[in-house]
Each structure stands twice: as C-alpha cells, then as structure tokens.
C-alpha cells in the first residue's frame, strides 16, 4: 500500500496544484514533495533488510493480455525511490527565487514527473514499466520546451526523438519476450524465465533491443549526442531532473531488466558495451576539459560518471552493481548540487563562461567552501560520497578486465583536472569587472547547499545504511545472473 501511496501522491498533488494560483504554488509544491519524502522515509523504516520484494501490490490491469498493475520494492528500488523523494523537494527549493512564467504548470509538471519516475522504479510488470518509462518523457519534454533557453525547440525535439527511438526498441524487445512467456504475461518473474530460456543468439537480440533504450537514456557513448545540448538548454530544474533522477532510469533498467532477462546476451556483448562505456568516459572527460561553458562542462562530466556506472553494472559482479547503486545516489546528489552552483553564479553574474569568471572566493568564502565540498564529492575524494561508489565500481570493472579498469580509472584523474580547473577559474584569482559584485547567499540557497554538503560528507564517511538497503537484493540478483551464465 505504501508503494501505491508513493506513486500516486505526487500525481494527486500535481492535479491539486492546478487549482492553486500565484506565488503560493511553490510552497504548496514544496510541501507536497516533502510529504512524499516523509512517506519514503516511512518505507525505509518499515523495510526488512533482506532480498525480498516488499510492499507489493498486484491487481490485473489488462487481463486479456496478461498485463497487471504489479508494483513493489526491493532494496534496489527503494534506494532509487528514496533518491527521487529526496531530490525533488531540493529541486523545487532551488527555484524559490525564480519567477517562471506560468508557475502552476511548471510545478505540476515537476510533480507529474516524480509520479512517473517513482512508477518506473517500482514496476514489476514489463508493460507497466514501459508505460511509466514513456510517461516520464512527456513532463520533462514540456519543462524543457516551455522554460528552456534559446534554440530549445530543436534541441528538446532531438532529445525526444532520440529517447523515443530507444524506448520503441525496448518495447519490441519486451513484446518479443512476452511472446515467449509460458502464460503470455508481462509479469517480471515470467519475463526473466522467458528471457533465460532463449539461446545465446536470441538473448543477444533482446540485449541490444533493450540496451539501446537504456544506453540512450543514460547516455552511453556513442548515443550521447542529445545530452550536452539538452542539459545546457533546459531550465536548471529540468536539468536537475534529467541528470539527477531521469538518467538513473537507464542504469536502474539495466540492473532490473537487462541483467536478468538476457544474462547470456549480456555476457556475450558485455565486452563491447563496457568498452563503449569506457571510451565514453575518457572521451567526454577530455571534452569536458576544454569546455568554456560551466553548465556544459558538468553535462559532459555526467556522461563520464554514468559511463563508469554502466561499465560497473555490465561487469556483472556484486562490487560493480553495488558500486553502481551507491554511485547513482551520490551522482544524483552531487550533480544537482553542481547545477545549482551553476544557476547561482549565472543568476548573480549573468554568465557561466569560465573564461570571464574569477575571484569569487574573495567575495564570498562561505560559498567557496560549500562549492568545494560538492566539487570534491564529484571528483570522488576519499571521505566523500563519490569515493565509495567509484571505488566499488572500478573494483568491479577490474574483476572483469584489468585493462578496462585502468582506462575507466582515468575518470578520477581527468575528473580532478576539469573540476579543479573550473574551480580555479571561477573562484580563485582576482576579481574582475564581471565578478565585482557577488551578492551574499540567501536563506534557501544556504539550505539547499547545506543539505547537499551534509549528504556528501555523511554518506562519504558512513555509507553503510545505504549499502545495507540494497546489498541483499544486489547479491541475489548477481547470484542469479552468474548462475544463468554458468560461472
């Protein structure tokens, strides 16, 4: 029941919000998002630390086709629901001083987006998963289209078509699996069984059909070309939703659907897919180094981070998948923090061009410290949250192939290069005409940055509570995967 509440509360809130007019709408939206967060905490508290799917709800939906409304959470789902519920109020809070035109629609769409995201993370029925997956695309498309920067129509359209192409391939893969289930159903367990009963060639087809959707969403090189443009043109909150939560749909999909339905296919093609991911890591890190636009730089860094997550998952061992779980959370928190920093600089100084900024530390040391903490989390310094995940991920990839791990490990070094370089050019040095005046931080900005920095440090020093939630489920999933491939 708590799962249903988690899914539908944001939708109800989004619809109620349509009746609120004017400035109140932000506060109501924030309140709704906080209530959702409290519900998710309640779920965490009630959660039994084992590998079972809990809080299940299963009702037939389209009976004649074996489609049911089957939702539930194991540790993997719960962590991502928690991430969603944690980030959405923060994302809403970051917009508190913004005056968007038509705020009612803006906040309703954010909450509608949350509804779809939670739905994706808790679906235990292939069809339902697909419907939520597509539903998540519509609000974000309109958020980017209506409140984005210049040239948004063309860019958001590219984003839409790109991800839709992937989704439709996934749909084809799902229908194919559905035809092979014993009782013609989309139930997750039966789809696993159907996928595993196929031979290696057909599992390979299924792998590519489904992997394309996830690879585009994350995105993995070479399917990433929509991402930098879309992240750069979207309004800050849209970018946060895309990078903080939506790309986790892709990585989650790989864990929940791809590994179990096509283990042999994954095993067969993992080398190619991991190599692509690693190429993406090095390639996008190098591009990030030469970026002048700070927002675009973070967009590229996000591809590098998510490439490592993809590589870790496809390596198919416990360290890799567990590292991916932690890194999804850390990346979500850190990237939202970084995009907020971008937004703060831009709204104060009217630019985010690295070549003209400089010396902000002299004007606002407090901001400098908070920025530095988020940045260090992002470059995975030990004792920050980024370190735990990246360590496990590189460890996981190392067990798969030492050479690939060596190249994947470059992300840490290159990450330090581009992040520290950008910190240097924004914060250090002398102030200039552009950065002469840097207004002090406002209350809501402090609140957001403090919460994010606290999360970075707390889960960097003591990640155990998070690791514990997902561990049993991950161990079970990886065991099943390794049994299926006979290792």
């Amino acid at each position: 029941m708590i799962t249903l509440l988690l899914i539908f509360f944001p939708l109800v809130a989004a619809l109620m919000l349509l009746m609120v007019k004017g400035e109140q709408v932000k506060k109501v939206a924030l309140a709704a998002a906080i209530i959702e967060f409290v519900i998710s905490i309640a779920a965490v508290v009630q959660f039994q630390h084992n590998a079972d799917t809990q809080f299940e709800f299963n009702k037939p939906w389209i009976q004649s086709l074996g489609i049911s409304f089957h939702v539930g959470m194991d540790g993997i789902s719960l962590l991502l629901v928690l991430l969603t519920a944690f980030l959405v109020p923060i994302i809403i809070l970051t917009s508190f001083k913004k005056t968007y035109k038509n705020p009612t629609a803006f906040y309703s769409l954010i909450l509608a987006m949350q509804f779809a995201l939670v739905g994706v993370f808790v679906s235990l029925d292939g069809f339902l998963f697909y419907v939520f997956w597509e539903l998540a695309l519509i609000p974000i498309y309109f958020i980017c289209l209506l409140w984005g920067a210049e040239d948004r129509a063309r860019i958001t359209f590219k984003f839409f078509v790109y991800t839709l192409a992937g989704s439709l391939l996934m749909l084809a893969g799902f229908i194919y699996l559905y035809q092979h289930t014993a009782n013609h159903t989309f139930d997750i367990a039966e789809m696993y069984a159907a996928g595993q009963s196929l031979d290696i060639v057909h599992q390979g087809y299924v792998f590519w059909a489904i992997f394309m959707a996830f690879a585009i969403k994350m995105p993995v090189f070479p399917f990433h070309t929509w991402q930098p443009d879309t992240y750069t043109t979207s309004p800050t909150q849209g970018t946060m939703l895309l990078s903080g939560i939506m790309l986790k749909m892709g990585t989650y999909g790989v864990i929940r659907w791809l590994l179990p339905v096509a283990p042999l296919g994954v095993e067969h093609w993992a080398h190619l897919a991991i190599t692509l991911a690693v190429i993406g890591i090095v390639y996008t890190s190098c591009i990030a180094i030469v970026q002048k636009d700070f927002k675009r730089l973070i967009a590229y860094s996000s591809i590098a981070h998510v490439g490592l997550i993809a590589a870790g998952i496809l390596a198919g061992n416990t360290q890799g998948v567990q590292g991916a779980m932690i890194q999804m959370i850390s990346h979500g928190v850190n990237v939202v923090g970084l995009f907020f920093i971008v937004d703060m600089i831009q709204s104060r100084l009217g630019t985010r061009d690295l070549s003209v900024l400089g010396g902000i530390r002299n004007l606002n040391p407090q901001f400098a410290v908070l920025f530095l903490i988020i940045l260090l989390g992002s470059v995975a310094l030990p004792l920050t949250n980024g370190f735990v995940g990246e360590f496990l991920l590189i460890n996981g990839v190392y067990q798969y192939n030492a050479w690939l791990a060596a190249f994947a490990g470059l992300t840490v070094i290159l990450g330090a290069v581009y992040m520290l370089r950008s910190y240097q050019s924004i914060m250090l040095g002398e102030t200039n005409a552009v950065t002469a005046v840097f207004p002090p931080l406002e209350g809501y900005e402090k609140a957001v940055l403090f919460i994010i920095c606290a999360a970075i440090i707390v889960f960097g020093v003591y990640p155990k509570p998070l690791l514990e939630i997902s561990e049993p489920a991950v161990v079970k999933l990886v065991d099943n995967f390794r049994t299926a491939i006979g290792k």
């Binding site: 086709l65 597509e134 519509i138 289209l145 839709l164 749909l171 084809a172 559905y178 035809q179």
Partner: protein, 451 residues
C-alpha cells in the same frame, strides 16, 4: 438491422425537413437520433466472438464517431445554404458504412460501398465556388468508380469460380479445395484486394487521397478519414481476415509489401507538407499501414486490434480535424504557423490537439499508444518482427510532424493572434475526446474484452 432502419429513417426525415420546414430543429433531432441508434445497437449486443459481435462493435464505432462528427461539424451545416441535403447525405453515407461492416454477401458489399461513396463524392465537391473542392469531388468520383470496377471484376471472377456471392459458401469452397483453387479465383482475390486497398488509401493506390482530403471541406475530410476509413477496414477485414483467410498464401505476400510501403511513404511524405490538412491526409494514409499490419498477422488479435486502432485513430482524427477547422476558419490558413501560440490564446483547443496528436503519434498513456502496441503484438505473434521494426521507424517519423504542431502551439509566439471563439458544443466535444483518449489508453481492456 435496427440500426440500418433507424439510420435510413433519419436520413429520410432529414430530406423531408425541407418540406415541413423544421430545418432549425434538424441538428438536435439528428444527434439525438444517432445517440438512440447507438444505444439500441448496444442493447442487443451478443458477446459471442462470431462475426456478428464484431459487426455490432464496428457499427457502434461508426455511429458513435458520426455523433461526435456531427457536433464537430456544426459549423459546416450552418454556413451552407443547402442544409438538409448535407444531413441526408451524411446519414445515407453512414447507412452505407453500416452495410459495409455487416454484409455476408458480396453484392451487399458492393451496394454498401456505393451507398457510402456516392454521398461522399457529392460532399467532397460541396463547396461549390471553390475550384479545389470541385476538383476533389471529380477526382474522387473518377478514381472511386475505377476502383469499383476492379471490385466488380473481382467479384465476377470469384462468382465464376465458386458460383456464389455468399461469403460462407466461398470460405467453404476454399477449405474444400484445399488450396488447389482455380487461377480465376486467385485473380478475383487480387482484383478485390486492389479495390479494397484503394478504398483504405494504401500505397501505391493512395494518390487520390491527399488531393481529395485537401480539396474537400475540412468537416467532410474528417468524415472520410474516420468513418469511411473504418468502414472500409471493417469490410476489408470481413473479406480477407475471415473469408479469404484460407487462401492467405496468395495475398499476404502482396499485402505486406503494400503495408511496408504505406507506412514509409505515408509518414515520409507527411513530413514535407506545409499544409496541416494535407499533412493529416498523409498521416491518415500512414495509419492505414498500421492497420494493414494487423490484417497480415491474421491471428486471434487481428479483429480486435483493428477495431481498437480504428476507434483510437478516429477519435484522434475527429479532435485534430476539429481543431484544424476552427483554427483555419479564424486564422485564414492551415500552415503550421497558424497554430502559433494557440496554447496561450485557446488552452482547451491546444490541449485537445496535443492529446489527439500524442494519441496519433502513439505516446502513452493515450489510446493511440495501446492501439499501436496491440497491433505490434499481433504482428510479432505471427512472426512479422521485421515489419514491426519498419512500423517503429515509421512511428518515429510520425512523431516529427505531429510534434511540429505541438511545438508551434506551445513554443511559438502568437504574433497578436486573438483568442478564437469556441462554441459550447465544441468545447464539450473536445473534452469528450480528451477523456475518451486517455480512458481508452488506461483501460483498453474494456473494449478488447467485448470481442
């Protein structure tokens, strides 16, 4: 049968309205009459899976969509002088449509097609002072007559082989000859196939459709794109998915080439259109391609997937043509630019159009998504996975031209275009189409389990 009698009576009443001068009352009378027919048609529904259930389902769709159409086309009846003729013509066309979905004899098929087509020829040309409209009517008449020729020729050959017009007898003939039927019969089937493919405007027999759709008054175009198309598909289905199913080996190969071409040509050509009406005409051609996919699959999902698709597609088309005709009337042209800023000036129209276009593009949670899914599922089941891939590619192309309008409505500035006056009836109809589209998308089981 009740439906046929009631509808014909309604048509006669519409003709008599001129004489007894109650023209003003005619609109509500007709709408109420249609609703009554719709309800009566549902009341004696038998839920068995035979063709009769199917026939009733299709005729319900036709009557229901016509009711919506009448509300949409309110303006069409107001602006024309010869009001009563139009009512009668539409109602008789609907009678033809109902005959086309419920025949068991090929002469009835012929009669149904003619009863449907002749009013459509007249209506296509009903904007008498417009050259394009006259051209549309003329083109439709010539090419329609030509395809009817093919149909009659096909019927003759099949009659020659089987000595019967009755569908059950013909089906028995195929099964008793176990594939070794005379070549005359094959030729008959292929000629009838050409005639039917022409009626549903599939490539390469689609050339009439864009010109006729564009030239005819928008309301008439909407009627052709929804009711005429649904009726033609039901007739097609009745003929090929049940009667000629036994001889599938000879027509399926032809039909999948036609389906693949229709999907690609329809969608690609739609992309380059500047007139929205013509774009919708090509999109309507493309949608025929999806429905052909279900026909090729030829399994237990064929009938219900065509039914669901035609319902979802008709609702989407009625809404999109409705918005188009209102926008065209107020802003003077039907290019994409005419839709600029509609979200600001007329939010309801913009939302109705968006939902309709999302449905036509097949995005969840709309009815169009489930309809496409259901057809893909049927095609996959019969091993046409690669045709599904073509269809997926085609629907991606479709997104491009549908979203151009959505982007124009929400993103472009309105350039001082004023808010458009929308009548209460239209508002009501748009709300109904929005709700139906979403409800069918969320609870498709309701329709599917009827069959």
């Amino acid at each position: 049968m009740t439906a046929l009698i009631l509808l014909s009576a309604l048509g006669v009443i519409a003709l008599l309205a001129e004489i007894f001068s109650f023209k003003k009352l005619l609109f509500p009378v007709v709408v109420l009459g249609l609703i009554t027919t719709f309800v009566l048609n549902l009341v004696d529904w038998n839920t068995d899976k035979s063709w009769y259930g199917m026939m009733r389902a299709f005729s319900s769709v036709l009557i229901g969509i016509t009711t919506l159409w009448f509300i949409m086309a309110e303006g069409f009846f107001k602006e024309e002088s010869s009001l009563t003729d139009h009512f009668a013509l539409i109602l008789f066309a609907l009678v033809g449509g109902v005959v086309m979905v419920s025949y068991t004899n090929m002469t009835m098929l012929f009669l149904g097609i003619e009863i449907l087509s002749i009013p459509m020829y007249v209506l296509a040309a009903s904007k008498k002072d417009d050259v394009a409209s006259n051209e549309a009517g003329f083109k439709y008449l010539i090419l329609g007559a030509f395809s009817t020729g093919f149909l009659l020729f096909g019927i003759t050959l099949i009659y020659g082989a089987t000595a019967s017009f009755d569908l059950p007898v013909i089906a028995d003939f195929i099964s008793s000859h176990n594939g070794a039927v005379p070549s005359m019969f094959y030729a008959g089937i292929l000629l009838m196939l050409i005639a039917m493919v022409f009626k549903v405007s599939a490539v390469p027999f689609h050339f009439w459709a864009p010109d006729v759709y564009q030239g005819a008054p928008t309301s008439v175009t909407a009627f052709m794109a929804t009711i005429v198309k649904t009726a033609a598909f039901a007739a097609f289905l009745r003929l090929f998915a049940s009667t000629f199913a036994g001889a599938g080996s000879i027509w399926i190969d032809v039909l999948w080439v036609i389906a693949a071409l229709t999907l690609l040509v329809g969608n690609i050509t739609a992309v380059i259109q500047t007139s929205t009406k013509r774009m919708l005409a090509y999109s309507s051609i493309a949608h025929a391609g999806y429905m052909l996919l279900a026909l090729i699959a030829l399994n237990q999902f064929t009938q219900s997937s065509v039914l669901f698709y035609s319902l979802a597609y008709s609702i989407g088309s009625i809404a999109s043509f409705g918005v188009l005709s209102i926008v065209t009337a107020s802003r003077g042209n039907d290019t994409t630019e005419a839709f600029n800023g509609l979200a600001k000036t007329n939010p309801l129209l913009a939302v109705a159009m968006t939902v309709a276009l999302l449905s036509l593009a097949g995005i969840p949670p709309t009815a169009g998504f489930f309809a496409k899914y259901y057809i893909f599922n049927a095609a996959f089941l019969s091993g046409y996975g690669w045709l599904v891939l073509i269809a997926i590619l085609a629907s991606l192309i479709g997104v491009y031209y549908y979203f151009r309008i959505i982007i124009a409505m929400f993103f472009k500035e309105s350039n001082g275009n004023a808010s458009i006056e929308v009548t209460v009836n239209h508002k009501l109809m748009f709300i109904i189409t929005i709700l139906l589209t979403i409800a069918l998308g969320l609870f498709p089981d309701f329709i599917i389990r009827l069959l």
